[in-house]
Structures are given as C-alpha cells and as structure tokens.
C-alpha cells in the first residue's frame, strides 16, 4: 500500500474527534455525515480540469488537491499511463470513465472514497456478497494490540480487537474499506478487495500529521496549528519514578522550563514558558481539563496529554492570565470497546545527592586547624591545648576504646572524635511506593474512566522520619442522553498527608550535614567520667543527647508537624449539538479545598553543652523545647469555574473551511484560613489545644478574587494550505480598579502548508510535510501578587513589644501601604515565527520557533530613596524584551522487525533585556535600560596573594575588608587608581567591577533516545543547560565558603591556601564568620553551572503472558549521573544557599504494569 495516498481519506475534523471522542459518537457522526453527504458528493461535485499528457497518478493527486475525493489503490494498479483531459463542470464519473478507458482499471465510488482495481480482480465488484473478514492487529514490535476499533467505513458496523489483537467482521461487502483506529496510533484504512484475512501492523502516531492537539476550548489538528504549541503525550510520563507531572515534563518540551528547589514531594515545580517573564514575576496558566487545578497534585498516570501554548496566538483565548503561556493538561477517558483494567506498582529506593561529602577523619587535626584559624582571625582559640593534644594523641592510637575517645576537662566532657551528623541523622536510602489502578471502557451510550493512585514516600531521616502519602481518585463519566445531547461528569479528588518531625528553627537540615564536627551528640557509656567510680552517678545520662547543634533528640521526640491537604473538584458538563456543525458546551466546576495542619513543639530532655557536655548538676534541661506549643490551622478555599462556549464548523464549502468559537468564562474564588496557637502543653503526648495552660493567639486571613472573560476564535483555511486564525479575549479581574478592570487582548496567526503546493510535487518523495507559521498577539497579566493591589488598607498586626503586664502581644493597626493611583495592566506583545516539517517518510520531524516577547508596562516596584518610607508601590514603569528560539527534533526509524529506535531532542534558548526602566542614577544593583537579566557584576581576580611583595604592591583593598594576608584574594585594579572600590555602584562609576557572567540558563536541552528490541525497550533521558554562570552567595557556607562557618570537610583542608599549598582554590583557612573580604563576587569563584544530568533510564520488558493483554516489568533509575562545571561540592540543579531541607535524590525503581 502506498500509505501517503491512502490516509487522510476523510474530512479532517473527524480525525480530531476520533482522538477526542468515544467511538460511539464517531459512529453516530459518520452515519450523519453519510446520510447528508455520501451519495450527493460525487453527483454534486463538479470538476473543471484541463491537463495535457499527465500521468494518471499525477492527475489523481490533482483531483485530491481540488476536491475531497480520495483514491485507494494498491501497487498492482498501473497509473503510469499518460492521458490528457479537458473537462468543464463534469461529474467525477464522467472524468474517471474517460481516463480509465482502455486501462483495465475499474473504479468504485463510496462517498468520497474511490477505490481503483484491476479489471481481472473485479469479478465480484458488482456482485457484492457479504463475507467474513478476520485478522490480527499488532504494534510495530509485533505485539498484539487489543482494543483497536475496526469499522467498515461509511457504516456503523464494526468491532474491537480482542486480547490477542484478533478480530472478525461479518457482513463486510467486498468493496468495503476497513478503518483501524487506536489511541496513539495512526488511523489506517484497508480496502477489502476480496480478501478474507487482513492483518495489520499499526503505526505509532507521535508525530503523525493526523495528530490532534488540545488547544484552548477545543482541539486542532497539529498540521493546522498556526501558533507555537508544544505537545507531550502520556508516554513521556510512563514508567518513570515521578510523583508529579512537572518532574516528568522537565526538558521534554522546548521552551517549557521546569525547576525544583528541592527533592521535597511537597515542593511545587516552578513552571516557566520561554524564560524571564516580568521583573514582577509571572507564571504560566495551568489548566487541567479546562480548570485551574494544582497540576503538581494530579496523578501523572491519569494524564493523557499536555499541550503548552507558548505564543500569544495560541494563548490569547485565555487573555489576562495567559501572558506567560498556558499549559493544558488533559486527563484520560474511557475508550470504546472491551473494558480495560490497568494495574501498576513501583517500588523505589532513593538516595540523597550530596556531592563531594568528605568527612574529616582525624579529630585532632581538625580541631587544631580550627584553633589556628580562630587564633589567626580573632586572636583567641576555641579549644584548650589539652583538648587538642588529647585529640591528636587519640587519632594516633591503634586500638582506641570508647574511654579513649573522651576527655574530661574543666567541667566539660569533650569528644575527641569528629561527629558528622549526616551519617547519624540520615539514612542512605529512602523508600517510596506507588500504586496505580484504573479501569475504563465505553459503550455507545456511555464511557467511563476511574482511577485510584497511591504514593507513599519516606524521607531521609533515620529517626522520626518524614512521611508523605498521596491519594488520587479520578472519575470521569460521559452519558449520551440523546444523539444531540450528552453529559459529562468528573470528580477529581486528591489528598496529601504529611507527617514530619517538628521544624525547630530550620537548623537541623543545615547542621545535620557537616557543621560543628567537634560537638558531641550522645552521652557516652564510659568506665568513669570525672573520677574513677563515678560511672553510676552519670549512668542516667547515657544515651541522652546534647542539645546544641544536634537534631537527633528533636527528631526523635520533639513533636510532629502534620497536615492533610484535601482537594476536590466536581465538574458537570453538557454538550448540545442542535445542528450539523454546531456544538454548544457548558461546564461548571466547583472546587472545595481544605487543609488541616497541626504543629506541635513538645518538651524533651536534653543535655547542656557546646563543644562538650557540661558536667553540672543541672545538665538535663529542655533545650530549645522549653517553650512548647501547639498550633492548629484550618484552611478552606472554594473556587468555581463556569465555561460556556459554542463552536460552529463549516467544511462543506469546497475549498473553504471555517470554524468559529465564541464563549464566556467566569471564575470566583474565596480563601479563608484560621490559625490558633497555644503554649504550654499539659503533657507532651496530648496534642490538643484544650490541653494547654499558656497563652493563646489567633489569626486569620480571608480574600476573594473574581475573573470574567469573553473570548472568540476564528479559523479559516483555504484548500487546507492557507491557514488563518484569530483569537481574542475581553477579560476582567477584580484585582484592578473598576475603570481599568477590563482589557481586550487580540491575536492573529497565519500558516502556509508549503508542501501541499503543486510546485512542491518534486519534493514529495522525501518531504512529507512543510509548514511555515507566523503569529502576533497581545496578552495581559493580571496576576500581580496581591489580591487588592490598588487598595491601601490598614492591616492589623501584633508586636512582640509587650506594653501590658499580662504577656499579651501588643495589637496595632499599621499605616496603609503606598499604592499607585494609575495601576493598569501589564501587556505582553508576542511575535512568533515557526516552521514545521516532516521528512523521509516521517522518520524526521522538526519544529522550530523564533519569538520576541515584549513585556510592557510592567507593574513593578521601583527603587526609591529611603525617605519614601514605604515599600514602593507597583507602577506600570518598565518594559523588557525577551527573545529566543526553540527546536524540537524527533528521528525515529525501524531497522527491522526486531529493532527500532527513536531520538527526541529539545533545545531552547532565551535572553532578556530591560528596554525601559526608570533608574536615573543608573544603579547597577537595580534594573536599568540595557541590562541583561541575570547579569553578575564582580571583580576580576588576579589570584591569591602568594608573596609579601605581591601583597605590598597590590592596590589598596581596604574598602573591601581589612587585614589582608597571604592566601587572601588579590583583586585586579582595573581602573589602575591604586584602590579597589565599588565606585558609586552606578553605571557611570562601577569601580573595579565588571560584568563577569550571567546566570540566565542558556540552551536548555532534553535528549531522549529510546530503542526497542523485540519485547525489550530502553529509554534514556538526559536534561541540562549548556551555558550558565552562577555565583555562590556568601551565605553558602556549608557547601562552598567553608571558612565562613565552623563546618569542616576534607575538601576544604585540601583545597585551601597554605604556604605549602599555593595552588589551592580557596583562600587561606581562617575563621571569618562575618568577614566577606574574600567572598565578593569575582571571577575566581564564578561557577560554570552548565550541566547534563541523566534524569531517567528505563529498561522494560513485555512479558509474553497469554492470560493478560499486556504485562510489563521495568527497571527505572532517576538522576543516576550528571556532569557539571561547578565546584565538586555543588549541585547544578539547586544553586541555592545552604543545603536544601529535602535533598534531591537518585532513585532506583522496580515497576510492574499489567493490563487486563
């Protein structure tokens, strides 16, 4: 079969619907279509054609271009003969009779399909005896495909393949065309032509030209898209160890940037489309089945597809919330046919990523280094010599006992070994389990999809561990009440339960790693402590914990922070189709979100001390838990979304195709939360507000927001080659004052399918399709942070300045903040050009987009001199220009029946520049015109001072710090004025600072090679950034600036300057907690934050089990490998200060998936 001539044989929008609707509906529509159009088309369609000496095949192509007729024939038909035609206003029969005269070719017209056959086979053509046709449908790997729908084209008769991919059809006419369709596969048609056995191999349709993409309030065939839309199908989320969709989409769609700050399952992803949005922040609008849900809590296995609307043309229908793009997530639906039951399970072990962790083993050496550093900087030491000496002696011992490891000295019991809390407080692996179950199916009257998902994830603490449990329930049911009326019901419920150790001062996480290596943690069991025979006196302390810098006792017993987050969305939808081509849809969704949280800080007994246990009588005390309390909070948010829209399609206008959509949207949300705290628990074990005796405090918050919009879309195409689309929305928000509340946001786009032009005929054997696109549009941004940004209100608060004697906090009313009286919309103007092409029998698929996004009248807080006395009000004060491009490339090929492979590449880039900004003095710490976002200003580093001469001859660095020594940073005197300065920090006077780098991530990429061999498949996913600079903040003292803290690891000792180690990276070892002289932004410590990380590896195997449709086991690894230009202790993905509270992790998963 020549595939390229055999598909696309029916009006395009049926294919859209095929992807969207259940087969019952399809049958209905087909029948409808048939009755209206079938017999009439070949009669009514009049052709005018004049061609000389053309090949019959080319003539047929021409006919297909001009009409909706589609020809079906196999290789046996010889169409090489040349003919001449010159007809005017004739029917197709007339023409075909003419050209096939004397060719031995016979034709048969069914609706718009024309089947060509050789005459010798045509004996039965006119005598159509119904017969039985059977066969087997497989996928490209040869595995049977159950659930494929097989229908006799033009009728409502059909069947579904069974578990072995088999089917059987009775009453199929000999001239019938069988249509095979299956989600994710290309629709294929086969002419029966007398055959009684028809086996078929379905082809995947990831990049197929028939692909239908979800867009705002509807769908569009991918080939007809004129805006910039990125798509990911469910397979990108399958067999991966992900708890949220963001993790699965990272790097998949070019231009969609997803970042996480930590590995905490509660940590929401930062979604960003096309880079820097506004100096005021901004984020894409994320809709799940058309409603603004928290996508991070949606079960990834319920997701069918994700569309990313990147430019104004695709997003304008969402108006004031779509300034920075829209992410549309569609969940799965029941498919017609036999009931499908899926069960999958994943067991995962996770290991925290902790680059360059190198505990120092020698306790004496470490203490001595610390002492020397103290002495150098502060002129005094931390430890007495006796402790240093004992520790040095201890580290030389061959077989030291526990008694040897401790020294009593001057009232304190000191450990002589180093303590590294990471090993004590954290375990190597954390388990995670995930279970998903779903059942779906459909009849011609109803369809259903019901799923349940469970995730149970544990944290990394050895004691009092974190527990994260999530339950997802999704139920979607559609009823067809009448042929013209159907109802859609959806219930989506998510519950997240967290049970974590109480968070005291955020200190555990930071200190649990490497800091304070010299502090003891647990009271030891020694022969004696101070003097022989006193063991019993202290025996009750054995096993108890030091309070200071020790998370262990607090993890074990210091109370829990628990909370349950419940989110339910109920949707009732209705679809009415009163006329052919017209459908009216309405849906109302209501959200009820509630969260209860309880935090308990319980009293525990800990031991007093610092560098050692303080051996005094009152050594046991309550430590940080002396002040105990319980806090209970309740949050209730409600939200509703009302959508009503009508779409009208006309495709019976010959070369013209028109689709129009108009609609209305209203949303309203109300948030309310109440928090109560009470101190002094009667018992640490009774966690009740009632069981307290101390002070009670209450607070609440309430707010409302309302949005309303009217929108339209108009599509027009001529000959399916010239595409035009207009979108727009008139949108209003309660966040703005009445006079500037509404805005109008239009967009336009054009597409030209070059490959459909006759002059491209010569390329047809290698170029499958080629399209160029351009769009222009305006969008608004209403999301300006506050709910009431134009209203200056006097908020109430409480002060810890106690005015009365009762211990009550002091209530006050604060002055209202400054608000701008001219607040209006931020406008985003987006321009996009793109090209899509598919080559070499669809082996290669390429999409490229170039965009310019101007964010104008940005609401922002200008930096005013201090005397303003208030936070700067938001003003429409600034513009920026964001330019960039995106490239998506897919290559897929099948080597033979056993081997096939595919490679996806996504690559994108952007840069942002401020084009308008009111910064009259040119302060470089603020924005200024011409500033590239992400600029890093700093000094040029000469090196570390190596000789006294160098130190003496260098320019004065007195303005950056004092007491410069050998091994300190030598900054370059770029101005050669004998002094290193910051100048006035303005563009005219930057002192000795220059732009040393830019923190904008450039060339973000995702690379996804996958291959299949028989029943095995291997999927790899690399993600990364090719160019980025990053400067470690001076607060980053655990993983980068070790001399700013009391932490110590081997890399610090090895890589710090000494007179012997002059090539070291870090300055000389000194204790400089608040001395920043060596940490100023500079070239030496600028980090190359480019990286590549192996995000995912999945090896799966399809088990050849007879009694189930499909059974798969797989091994998955996440974050298994990375390479980066950063210093070895830094992780490129969390370029934040300190250690994140919940680290990123590598994970190893065994998964099973069974489909019945």
């Amino acid at each position: 079969m020549k595939k390229n001539r055999c598909d696309g044989g029916i009006v395009p929008w049926i294919y859209q619907i095929l992807r969207k609707m259940k087969l019952t509906l399809l049958f209905l529509l087909m029948a409808l279509l048939n009755s209206i159009a079938a017999d009439s088309y070949s009669q009514s369609m009049k052709l005018t054609l004049k061609m000389e000496n053309v090949r019959i095949e080319d003539l047929l192509i021409r006919i297909e271009d001009q009409t909706k007729f589609r020809f079906f024939y196999n290789d046996e038909i010889n169409l090489e003969k040349r003919v001449s035609v010159d007809i005017s206003d004739e029917t197709i029969n007339h023409l075909l009779d003419h050209i096939f005269r004397n060719t031995g070719i016979q034709y048969e017209i069914t609706d718009r399909q024309i089947i060509l056959k050789n005459r010798e086979h045509s004996g039965s053509l006119t005598a159509q005896q119904p017969k039985v046709i059977s066969g087997r449908v497989t996928d490209s790997s040869g595995a049977p495909l159950p659930g494929v729908s097989v229908i006799i084209k033009g009728t409502t008769s059909g069947t579904i393949t069974d578990a072995n991919g088999g089917y059987s059809l009775t009453n199929a006419p000999n001239n019938a065309v069988l249509q095979f369709s299956f989600v994710g596969m290309k629709v294929q048609e086969v002419v029966v032509a007398g055959k009684s056995v028809i086996d078929l191999e379905m082809e995947e349709d990831a990049i197929g030209i028939e692909e239908v993409v979800a867009i705002g309030y509807g769908t569009q065939k991918k080939v007809n898209l004129t805006g910039a839309v990125g798509v990911a199908s469910s397979e990108r989320l399958e067999n991966r160890t992900i708890t949220s969709v963001g993790q699965g989409l990272q790097g998949v769609i070019p231009g969609l940037n997803i970042t996480y700050k930590s590995g905490d399952p509660n940590e929401a992803a930062d979604f960003n489309i096309r880079g820097f949005e506004s100096i005021n922040g901004g984020e894409p609008l994320i809709l799940v089945d058309g409603i603004p849900m928290n996508v991070e809590k949606v079960n990834p296995s319920d997701i069918k597809s994700v569309s990313v609307l990147k430019d104004a043309s695709s997003a304008a229908i969402y108006g004031a919330r779509a300034a920075f793009g829209v992410i549309l997530v569609e969940t799965k639906k029941g498919q017609i046919g036999k009931t499908t039951v899926n069960f999958s399970s994943q067991l995962t072990m996770q290991k925290a990523i902790f680059p360059g962790y190198e505990p120092v083993k020698e306790g004496g050496t470490a203490r001595k280094i610390m002492n020397d550093a103290y002495k150098l900087t502060l002129g005094k030491t931390l430890f007495a010599d006796a402790i240093i000496d004992a520790a040095l002696a201890y580290q030389e011992m061959d077989n030291p006992t526990t008694d040897d490891a401790w020294l009593y000295y001057e009232g304190f019991l000191y450990p002589l070994e180093n303590t590294y809390m990471k090993g004590l407080a954290m375990r190597n692996f954390a388990p995670q389990q995930q279970y998903d179950f779903n059942i779906s199916g459909a009849s011609d009257k109803a369809s259903y999809y019901v799923s349940v998902g469970v995730i149970d994830k544990k944290g990394f603490f050895r004691y009092g561990n974190e527990n994260y449990d999530r339950y997802n329930v999704l139920s979607k049911i559609n009823f067809k009440v009448y042929d013209w009326l159907s109802l859609e019901e959806k219930i989506a419920f998510t519950s997240v339960a967290n049970d974590d150790p109480h968070n005291y001062h955020d200190q555990w996480y930071y200190q649990a790693i490497a800091k304070h290596f010299y502090s003891p943690h647990t009271f030891p069991d020694l022969t004696y402590y101070i003097e022989p025979g006193d063991h019993d006196k202290y025996a009750h302390l054995i096993g108890m914990h030091l309070d200071n810098r020790n998370p262990l006792p607090y993890l074990k017993q210091g109370g829990r922070d628990t909370g349950t987050d419940n989110d339910i969305w109920l949707t009732q939808g209705i679809t009415v189709t009163p006329l052919k081509g017209l459908s009216i849809k309405g849906d109302f969704s209501y959200r009820y979100y509630w969260k209860d949280a309880e935090k308990v800080q319980s009293q525990i007994d800990v031991l007093r001390g610092f560098n050692g246990f303080e051996m005094r009588d009152d050594i046991i005390y309550k430590g940080q838990s002396a002040n105990d309390w319980i806090e209970s909070s309740f949050t209730r948010n409600t939200y509703y979304v009302l959508n009503a829209y009508a779409e009208y399609v006309r495709e019976d206008l010959g070369n013209h195709y028109i689709k129009a959509l108009v609609g209305f949207n209203q949303e309203y949300g109300r948030n309310h939360s109440v928090t109560t705290r009470s101190t002094q628990l009667i018992s640490p074990n009774i966690h009740s507000l009632s069981a307290t005796t101390g002070t009670r405090t209450n607070s609440d918050s309430k707010n409302e927001v309302m949005l309303r919009g009217m929108f339209y879309r108009l599509n027009y195409s001529f000959k399916d080659k010239y595409l035009f689309e207009a979108n727009g929305r008139y949108d209003g928000t309660s966040r703005f004052p009445k006079k500037s509340r509404f805005g109008f946001f239009p967009s336009f786009s054009l597409g030209w399918r070059l490959s459909e032009e006759p002059f491209m005929n010569s390329t047809r054997n290698w170029l499958d399709q080629l399209k160029v696109r351009a769009s222009y549009g305006q969008l608004g941004n209403q999301n300006v942070g506050s709910y009431y940004p134009y209203i200056s209100s006097m908020a109430s608060g409480t002060s810890t300045f106690l005015l009365d004697g009762g211990g009550n906090l002091t209530n006050y009313i604060a002055p209202g903040e400054l608000v701008s009286n001219s607040l209006t919309w931020e406008t985003v103007v987006s321009k996009n050009i793109g090209v899509d092409f598919t080559l070499l029998d669809r082996k290669l698929d390429v999409n490229f987009d170039y965009f310019i996004r101007d964010t104008k009248d940005m609401l922002m807080e200008k930096d005013y001199p201090g005397p303003l006395g208030a936070a700067s009000p938001s003003e429409n004060a600034a513009d920026l220009k964001n330019t960039g491009w995106e490239l998506a490339v897919t290559w897929s090929d099948k080597i033979n029946d056993d081997w096939s492979y595919r490679v996806n590449l996504s690559l994108s880039d952007y840069q942002t520049e401020i084009t308008k900004y009111d910064n009259p003095t040119g302060m470089i710490s603020d924005y200024y015109v011409g500033k590239k976002i992400g600029e890093i200003w700093g000094y040029k580093t000469v090196g570390l001072f190596q000789t006294e001469e160098e130190l003496a001859n260098a320019a004065s660095q007195a303005r950056l710090g004092s007491n410069w020594r050998l091994g300190d940073v030598h900054y370059a005197d770029l101005h050669e004025d004998g002094e290193i300065t910051t100048g006035s920090n303005t563009l005219n006077d930057t002192g000795d600072r220059i732009r040393i780098g830019n923190s904008t991530p450039r060339y973000a990429f995702g690379l996804n090679p996958s291959m299949k061999y028989k029943s095995f498949s291997l999927d790899l996913f690399f993600q990364g950034i090719l160019k980025r600079d990053w400067y470690p903040s001076r607060n980053n003292f655990l993983r980068f600036w070790p001399f700013k803290s009391m932490s110590m690891e081997q890399w610090w000792i090895d890589d710090s300057w000494t007179p012997e180690n002059t090539g070291a990276y870090f300055p000389l070892i000194q204790y400089a907690y608040s001395d920043n002289k060596n940490t100023h932004e500079q070239t030496r410590y600028l980090q190359n934050a480019a990286y590549i990380r192996l995000k995912n590896v999945t090896l799966s195997y399809n088990l050849p089990l007879r009694f189930v449709t499909n059974a798969q086991i797989y091994l998955n690894g996440t974050n298994l490998w990375e390479a980066t230009g950063m210093y070895k202790t830094l992780d490129p993905e969390y370029s934040t200060d300190l250690v994140p509270r919940y680290m990123f992790h590598r994970s190893f998963t065994l998964g099973v998936k069974v489909t019945l």
Binding site: L378, M710, Y730, L802, D804, P815, L818, G869, R959, Y1071
Partner: protein, 581 residues
C-alpha cells in the same frame, strides 16, 4: 454593538472585591482606641534592631541589644567572633561600601517617620477632646524626635520629613536637611511631647506607654548630646541646648515620681535593678522592655559573659576617698587580682565579677563546679573572659533556660541618667554649684556609699589633663562612664566630647599578665590570649585582640560621623557624603 453592550455589562459591581481583614484609612481614626492602637506600632518600630531606641536585649539569637553597645568602645571587648559589627566599629573598620551597622543608615527609620507623619495628619479626625488627641500627637512627636536625633548623632545632616511622601515627592531626591534645621524641629517635637504627654497613662508601668517624664529624660539626653556636640565640634547656640538639657532634667528631678533604687545595701543596690525579672513598680526604672517566656524571648542571659570589661574601665573607678587610682593612696594596684576591688567605688564590684561573688551571682554555674575566676580563653574553652574581667552588672541567673527562651528584662530609661545629664549640662554651662552636685551625682554616690563629689576639692587626674576640659567636667564624665557602663552610652559620649582620637585609638587591655598571675591563672601555659607591655607600665597585660584583625584600633576625624552607604547614594546622589569618607 451587541458585543460592546455585553462587554460593558461585564463590568458590574459583582466584580468589586475589597479586603476582608483590614480597614481603610477613610473609616478609621474615630475613637481613642483607634489612636492608641495605631500608636502601638511605634513601639514595634522602636524595638527593631535597626533602631537604638527600645531595642532592649538580644532577641532570639541576635546579639546586638542595648547592653552590648559598649562593645563599640573602650569599655568592653566582645568575646565572640559573632559580634563583628561592634568590634569593627570599635576598631574603626567600618566602610562606606556597606552599611556600617544594623542601626545605621537604613530605610527602617523612614518607615517609622512615615507612620508617625500619617498619624499626625489624621489624629485630629477623631471626635475626641483636644487634650486626648494631643496626648497621642505628643507620643508620635516624641518618637519622631528621638528617632531623628539618633540618626543625626550618627550622620549629621539628615532628611527631615514632616509629611507622608509619595513617589512624586521632590523630597525623595533632595539633599539632606542641615543638622541645625533638623534639630530645631526635633526640639519643637520634644517641647510638644514634654507639654502634652500625660504624667501617667494609668497603664501600670508594666512597662506601659512612654509618659511625659520619659519625654523629659529623652529631651535632656538629646539636648545634652547636641549642646556638647556643638560646643566641641562647632555649631551655634551650644549653650541654649545645654540649658534645655539642664532644664528638662531638673524638671524631672524636681517634679517626677522617680527616685534611685535603694534598699540600704550599697554593695548591691547599684546593679540590683539589672538582676530582676520584673521591673514593674521599681522606683528608678522609667521605661523598660518586657520579655515573657513562651511569648517573646531574649538570649542575653546566656551571652552576658561575652561582655568583658577592659583594664581602662576598671582603672576609671575611683577609690573610696574620691580620688582616682592615679592619685589615691588607697589603691592596691592590680598585681593581685582581688586587690583591684579593695578600697574602690562599690560600683566596681557590682560591675566586674569578684571571684568571691561567683556563687552570689550564680555566674554560669561556676560556683558549684569550683571553677575559678578569671576563666581565660584557652585555659577554658567556653564561658571565658577575653580580658580576664568578667562583667557582672547584667546577670540574671535565676533564668536558667535555653537561649531562645530567656525573659530577662532590659532597662531602657532610668532616673539615674537624668542626674548625670543634669550635672554635665550645668557643668558645661559653667553654672554648676555644689547644690547641683548634691541633687545629682552625690545621690548616685550615696546609694553606693561613696564619698561626695566636692566642688571645692576636685582631683586632677593626670590621665585626662589633655582633654582640655576642667577637672570637674572630667570627674562628671568619669561618673557617667562608671554609672552607665554597658547601658549603651559610651560610644555617643566619646563622639560628642570629641575624644575619639584620645580614647578610641588606643588598644584594649585586660588583666595584668605577669609571672605571678600566669602561674596562678594559667599554670599549664594554655592561655591563648595575646599579651604585651601596656603603655605607661612596665608589665605585660592581656591584649585580647593581639595578632588578630582588630589589634590596632583606628579613630580619625571622619569617624565622628558615619559614612552614607553606597546604596543610598546611588539611589539619590544628592544625599552626598560625610567628610573624609
């Protein structure tokens, strides 16, 4: 047309949403409670560590409370590396590239001004008697005067703001207001406050609101600063300011309800008010900061040991004959540690820990552990003194709790200061009499059993003859240093007296470190503290910063005023820079 109509109809009142948990300025300002609850926010601003007004003690884990401020001077050497800000200021190492200290040039003061100015623009809207309204106006103006005067003391010229600004206000980009103009406005505020604040708000002084007496004390402090500043640094009307200082203090002394705290125990009455957990109703304490367990905590009581007294401070206490150690035959010298306390002003032993008092003060639990004083760095590893002198004025060991949970109160305004302000102002005016001394300094001396200061018999301490002031003024300044040690006055005093070069540019020393003391306190030679022969002696003394970053303190003429930080200058170049920076 239809669409337009539809669109217009969209913008109906249902789209109007207003805040649900706050009020608007239009509907506020009605009752006295409105005014009071509004003014409450002033106390919140004034307590911030960005201000030096009602900051009180270390809050949580911060270490920059009022009792730590002497770490910027020759009184006190901070013993933890954390305290770098004060130590840097002490050593003259502040730089204009960053803000010199948290309470320096920052926006917090301007936020405070704005809140005050909004209040002043609206109080009159309340339907209340003028007398009631004026009380709240007076409270606001007192805070405005105090805040601005504090900034003027650090920066000289300073923006004076008397109305709420908006982003189009010219004042934003103007020059600083000249010092004399600002201070004239400050004085007007102070006068208003001293006239209209109530003597007693009837709120129990626990601590309650600032009353008229507090205003008088603050006025005397500010006017004394300004008067002496102008006298020694140049400026007009120095005497007018000194007269205001004297008058305000005198009114407080004569008419106020306060008196020195005294129970007839001269050995303990001086520091007793600093040992209490509740200062409600304590005669001398005019204003204080309350903490409460489980509500708002202070960490001072585990950090008091960081404050370590210097040799210079210890040697400034008079002998019991009223003569300085340089002149008195009663002085026993410092060769034997305990001898420094012999025949000395009893306030010394209530400021510096005597080894025999360890148990009395429950100092770090050392009594029960038998740990001897001094505890020196290196010899011990924590709870040490870096000078060898342990500060004991502000110790409250009845609160033996974790550092986040202490509730040690902070004395913010006390009557004793008024006596010193009065005596100094009168002395600087040249009008002081023995009667003046008797109602001021001699009251302080009576409490501790010291001999009176006799105007006809003022000793001439050879150490201070180069100050260029009369011996009487020298003695009044000494009295001030001794009485107000570690209450945050010394840094401002040195600057207004223009004695930075003479006092601040000298190293700090600790205890005598001769052979006898070494073998006594450090038999194993473990002490890590530096030591050297101190100027004017032939013996080695502990030199705590020796060999470290802060060994050689610098004080140049530019250090009298702080630099305007780079950030403020780039926002508004017109603010200029102080001389020398």
């Amino acid at each position: 047309m239809v669409l337009t109509a539809l669109f217009t109809g969209c913008n109906d009142d249902s789209m109007d949403k207003f805040p649900l948990t706050s009020v608007s300025s239009e509907t506020f300002w009605n009752t006295e409670n409105d005014l009071r609850i509004y003014n409450n926010i002033f106390y919140d601003y004034a307590k911030a560590s960005t201000m030096r007004l009602l900051n009180g003690n270390h809050e949580g884990a911060t270490r920059d409370g009022q009792y730590s401020l002497d770490g910027m001077t020759d009184n006190d050497v901070r013993s933890l590396g954390y305290q770098a800000t004060h130590t840097k200021i002490r050593a003259g190492q502040i730089v204009p590239d960053s803000n010199p200290a948290s309470f320096g040039w920052n926006d917090a003061c301007f936020y405070f001004m704005r809140a005050i100015n909004i209040g002043l623009a609206n109080y009159d809207r309340a339907d209340l008697g003028q007398a009631v309204i004026d009380q709240y106006k007076a409270e606001a103006r007192l805070f405005r005067a105090w805040t601005v005067a504090d900034k003027v003391s650090l920066y000289g010229d300073y923006p004076w703001l008397d109305k709420e600004l908006n982003i189009d206000s010219e004042e934003l980009f103007g020059e600083r207001t000249p010092r004399e103009t600002v201070m004239a406005n400050v004085l007007a505020d102070l006068d208003f406050a001293c006239e209209y604040l109530p003597d007693d708000w009837g709120d129990g002084n626990a601590p309650g609101r600032l009353n008229r007496w507090c205003a008088l004390l603050i006025k005397s402090r500010i006017c004394l600063f300004e008067g002496t500043w102008r006298k020694y640094h140049g400026g007009t009307d120095a005497n007018t300011w000194l007269q205001h200082a004297a008058n305000a203090a005198k009114e407080l002394i004569d008419d106020g309800p306060y008196k020195l705290y005294s129970t007839g125990h001269p050995d303990h009455d001086y520091n007793a008010i600093f040992q209490k957990s509740d200062l409600t109703g304590v005669d001398e304490v005019m204003y204080w900061r309350r903490y409460m367990q489980g509500v708002i905590a202070t960490s001072w009581q585990i950090y008091y040991y960081m404050s370590t007294v210097t040799k210079s401070m210890v040697e400034d206490y008079l002998c019991t004959d009223g003569l300085p150690v340089t002149l008195s035959g009663l002085y026993q010298g410092d060769a034997v540690y305990e001898n420094i306390f012999v025949n000395r002003d009893p306030r010394l032993r209530q400021t510096v820990l005597h080894p025999a008092d360890v148990t009395y003060y429950n100092y770090l639990g050392y009594g029960e552990q038998g740990i001897s004083i001094p505890a020196l760095s290196g010899v011990r590893s924590s709870g040490t003194s870096v000078t060898g002198y342990h500060q004991v004025k502000h110790v409250n060991q009845e609160q033996n709790v974790y550092f986040h949970d202490g509730f040690y109160p902070c004395v913010i305004l006390r009557f004793g200061e008024a006596l010193l302000n009065y005596a100094e102002a009168r002395a600087e005016l040249g009008t002081i009499t023995q009667t003046d001394l008797d109602i001021s300094i001699n009251k302080l001396r009576d409490r501790v059993g010291m001999v009176h200061m006799d105007i006809s018999n003022i000793p001439v301490d050879p150490r201070y003859t180069d100050w260029g002031v009369t011996p009487l003024i020298v003695e009044i300044r000494r009295e001030r240093r001794v009485e107000l040690f570690a209450e945050g006055f010394r840094y401002d005093d040195i600057r207004r007296w223009k004695l930075g070069e003479k006092i601040m540019a000298r190293k700090d020393y600790g205890i005598r470190w001769d052979e006898a003391n070494r073998s006594r306190f450090d038999p194993n030679g473990e002490c890590k503290l530096g030591h050297e022969v101190a100027p004017g002696t032939t013996v080695e003394y502990i030199c705590p910063n020796k060999g470290g970053d802060f060994e050689n303190p610098v004080f140049e003429s530019k250090h009298y005023l702080w630099p305007i930080p780079v950030g403020a200058r780039s926002e508004n170049p017109a603010v200029g820079q102080n001389p020398g920076w």
